[in-house]
Assembly symmetry: C2
């Protein structure tokens, strides 16, 4: 049984200001929830419409109808959990770091966090106007990998201008990435969905790289930022760790 | 001014059975619409809340409120167009072909069509249970590249068993893609979001390839199918066309 005040509290966590205030975020569905629990994230409360042997005091057995009332999904998926937002860690500057300049779409951010996890990139630096990584849509798209990637929000220009490593940026008219030599230690910057990397941040780049287009037709379109990130991370790992 | 019967007709095109019956599909927003028009797709009707010099008999000036009533988007984006579904073309078997086995998510399919466009893959073969490429969510995700990629729906197993070229499949335990020699002419198969390539189709593969994981932690997760497709297409183009 969920009370009216619980419903109000849980749905308020769909908004960043309440997540920040409470230090809590929502995850939905058995798979994502179990990945986050296994990764050691601290559970605040756990609502499920499935039979469970969980007898802890954070577990609440609820009906499907109640679950739908607290869910942010169109169709609720068996369970919803509230986790504590982990304490901020310090940035380790070893190895490969990914930086995002104003990525606005939560699905793109979630997919990029999942890519970081796959390619062993533990530090993800985000400009202050990038989407919030605890947005429920981001959490769903990460498939649990948010627990294995440290996401930092900061003044990106300031951070980059003080970084002592090479800074690569994905742009439209740079050097062909297949011909580029990539370092083991460095930062890759990816820009906003519509506008690319901002002018200020472009100034901080040491290397501009581009994924070449193929085929004969003239195209006006660019790659989606998440698929471009996939290709660049693959290229860095292929050329430096093989 | 849009009539009630027009609203009913337009919103019916959100469903595949009415798109098939009428031979029409919906595209929304100035960018996608203009890309499709430039690519030569035949316009059936065009509704816009913006001032326009278009005086053709397919153009209808409507209010924002009316546009929202015919839109499938949460927030309508200035214009909505209905295009004719192009006549089916025959499959050319030259060069690189991408085949999809039961891709269900319209966003993934749209992103993959956009990738085909970028990497010059003009033929996309889909199993009969793959999402419909004229689903409005697919159209929005393709950003207009649907006009430059020929999408074919057919019995995928039958097609692959009769194909006279090497067939590569993206799997979890195959050969490291970075160590694989790729041909100029061949087919890449990508599988369903949850289950990968089906058992029947696995039998048709001549080469199984895998994108290696990096980092020290044990991960249970796989890559999203669109990002995996991005990396494999990049690898084929990098190794065979440079």
């Amino acid at each position: 049984m969920v009370s009216k005040s619980q419903i109000k509290f849980i749905t308020s966590l769909q908004q960043k200001k309440y997540r920040d205030k409470e230090g809590l975020f929502i995850a939905e569905g058995p798979k994502v929830i179990s990945e986050l629990r296994e990764a050691g994230l601290k559970l605040n409360s756990f609502f499920s419409s499935e039979l469970s042997e969980d007898t802890s005091n954070v577990f609440f057995s609820i009906t499907d109808a109640e679950l739908q009332r607290i869910s942010g999904l169109k169709t609720a998926n068996k369970s919803l959990a509230i986790f504590e937002i982990p304490k901020k860690s310090t940035i380790t500057s070893e190895g490969l770091i990914l930086a995002l300049d104003a990525i606005r779409d939560p699905g793109n951010l979630g997919t990029i966090i999942r890519l970081c996890d796959w390619f062993g990139v533990t530090e993800l630096i985000c400009s202050l106007d990038t989407a919030d990584c605890y947005n429920p849509k981001v959490i769903q798209a990460t498939m649990g990998s948010i627990a294995r990637v440290n996401v930092h929000y900061l003044n990106l220009a300031e951070y980059l201008f003080n970084a002592p490593v090479p800074i690569y940026g994905g742009v439209l008219n740079g050097q062909n990435v297949y011909d580029s030599k990539m370092p083991k230690k460095g930062i890759i910057v990816m820009g906003n969905e519509a506008n690319g990397i901002s002018e200020e941040i472009i100034e901080a780049l040491t290397n501009k790289i581009t994924i070449p287009q193929f085929g004969t037709e003239q195209k006006t379109e660019s790659l989606n930022v998440a698929t471009a990130t996939a290709i660049l991370l693959s290229e860095f790992r292929r050329t430096t760790e093989m």
